[in-house]
Symmetry: C2
């Protein structure tokens, strides 16, 4: 037997622990081509909130009673797939489970000697690819430009901010605590605490690109601060995900015309063909310490819902993970 | 002596005739390289509203007491410029004046045998180039796609709708009167009266591209109707130009991320290098009647302010012009 977390109610507003429950499930054996995996780290990501609403978006919503799929890393227990053996580290979409079975071909084998396996859920995984694709393919950032990254201490934001620095941009970043601001400053980011400083003031010099992870007021301030021909990399809007009703958009969207702005949204899974290029550029930076990462690790599968809810309070510095096994 | 229209007060909300006054000015003679022109048609365009607010945008604001610069066509009276002779038709930026002097090199000589000179202010001028650049360079429209054009009976919109038809798109258009809707239907546009039909309902089948001339509710409805990877050609927002206070933006801007939308603003004067390509493609369509155009002509320079104000009530079908001489 092992445990998994299932959706028991659609969250109203901020997700509550009572929206989820633990369920015991019998262990399954892998069929031909499959592998059973014991998860070690499971990922909680802001985008999962959208799948809990029951509204069809770019991914199917979770049904009530579904276990929550998502990123996870773990070790192979039993394999009927040629490329994987017991003990191998793999990244999967097995989600909020202690143990599960997946097609071997859908797993990514991780080399522990290159980077800690948990980085496959963060700086060298989906959040890292999101940051890199956003900057390179969506934003087309150029050396010498100024970029503003909101949610800059998060998994995506902290990677985006550091990649932008390495590409020769001036980087301004916001976060919601002094601790996060201090960390960002240590990385060379001109950081401010958005709970204390208005983005409008922090961006008064103007920006060329806005990497939007939060939406709302930060987006409005950025539209005001963007220079002509500026771009918005529309990655996410964590400030909006728990809204019970749609909130009005920025009052200054007219700047899109007058300043010839481009707002472009993207979803990382459309860009999975870029993973190799991403890993070739960013992997060495992580290995050599030119990009650093932080992880906020919560222990125990029973604490996955609380860790998930904590994302929306900004409890995490860097990537939020739940360790479900040693 | 001749007359010109000057800005006497910054409009509050909808422009009023009292915001302008007529002024007599002595005739000037052209210096070397210059030409004096008697205007025949002067153009009133929605973008001019922005220059009246006193806020610096992509063009300098008009000062109180300034004559209003803008598009005009007229005939050369006296020339000290080699390429132009008295009687020649020229397009200029001489604006709301009966007569003026301009550098010959800044005038575009018009061939009356190709098209009526007034078209240089409409279908074959700035509004036509706006429509074409928006579709081709900003929207990247493709045969088989569905496009929604708001303000579709206006100078830009009616040209955009017809170019899109000729490029093999399905075209939905909105306008504010039954007369306009009838005209658009005669052009093969699936037209609706936005005062009677909600855009949300008219666009229920989905769209790939939205050519936005009006902003506001039409933009919100379009964000809802756009299919994944849809584009917004952000050309203008006439519904917003007279707002005294910034109004909230669309409540569904989150679709930019989930549907991977691209919103891109543009200003036609950044694209003047495309005029030749535009004229080569669209000129023959106009000549051969594959693109038709309408003009709403008001007589007398004293009526320029009323004609301008009428743009915001939708008084015009097609291009609004004021005839200031025979």
């Amino acid at each position: 037997m092992s445990r998994e977390v299932v959706l028991s109610a659609r969250p109203q507003g901020t997700p509550q622990e009572s929206d989820f429950e633990l369920r015991d499930v019998p262990d399954a054996s892998p069929a031909e081509g499959e592998v059973s995996v014991r998860n070690v780290f499971v990922s909680v990501d802001p985008y999962m909130r959208g799948r809990m609403t029951g509204v069809r978006s770019y991914v199917e919503p979770f049904a009530i009673g579904d276990a929550i799929d998502g990123g996870a890393v773990g070790r192979v227990v039993e394999s009927s797939y040629d490329g994987l053996a017991p003990g191998d580290w793999v990244a999967s979409m097995l989600g909020w489970r202690e143990q599960g079975v997946a097609a071997g071909a859908q797993l990514r084998k991780l080399d522990e000697s290159v980077a800690p396996p948990s980085t496959a859920l963060g700086v060298l995984g989906m959040p890292g690819l999101t940051a890199w694709v956003g900057l390179v393919d969506i934003g087309g950032v150029q050396e010498g430009e100024t970029i503003y990254v909101s949610g800059a201490a998060g998994a995506v934001g902290s990677t985006a901010a550091q990649i932008a620095k390495l590409k020769g941009l001036r980087v301004i970043g916001s976060a919601g605590s002094d601790e996060k601001v201090e960390w960002l400053r240590s990385l060379g980011v001109e950081a401010f605490n958005y709970r204390e400083t208005r983005a409008k003031d922090a961006l008064a010099d103007g920006i060329d690109v806005y990497f939007d992870n939060v939406g709302g007021e930060q987006l409005e301030a950025s539209l005001g601060a963007l220079r002509p021909f500026g771009r918005v990399i529309a990655c996410g809007a964590i400030s909006r995900y728990n809204d019970e009703r749609p909130q009005p958009g920025p009052r200054n969207l007219g700047f899109v015309v007058t300043k010839r702005l481009r707002l472009q949204g993207f979803i990382v899974r459309d860009h999975s063909d870029r993973f190799g290029d991403f890993a070739r550029e960013v992997g060495p930076w992580v290995r050599d310490g030119e990009i650093v990462y932080r992880e906020t690790i919560v222990d125990g599968i029973e604490n996955v819902p609380a860790a998930f809810a904590g994302l929306f309070r900004g409890d995490n510095v860097g990537k939020m993970l739940v360790r479900v096994a040693d």
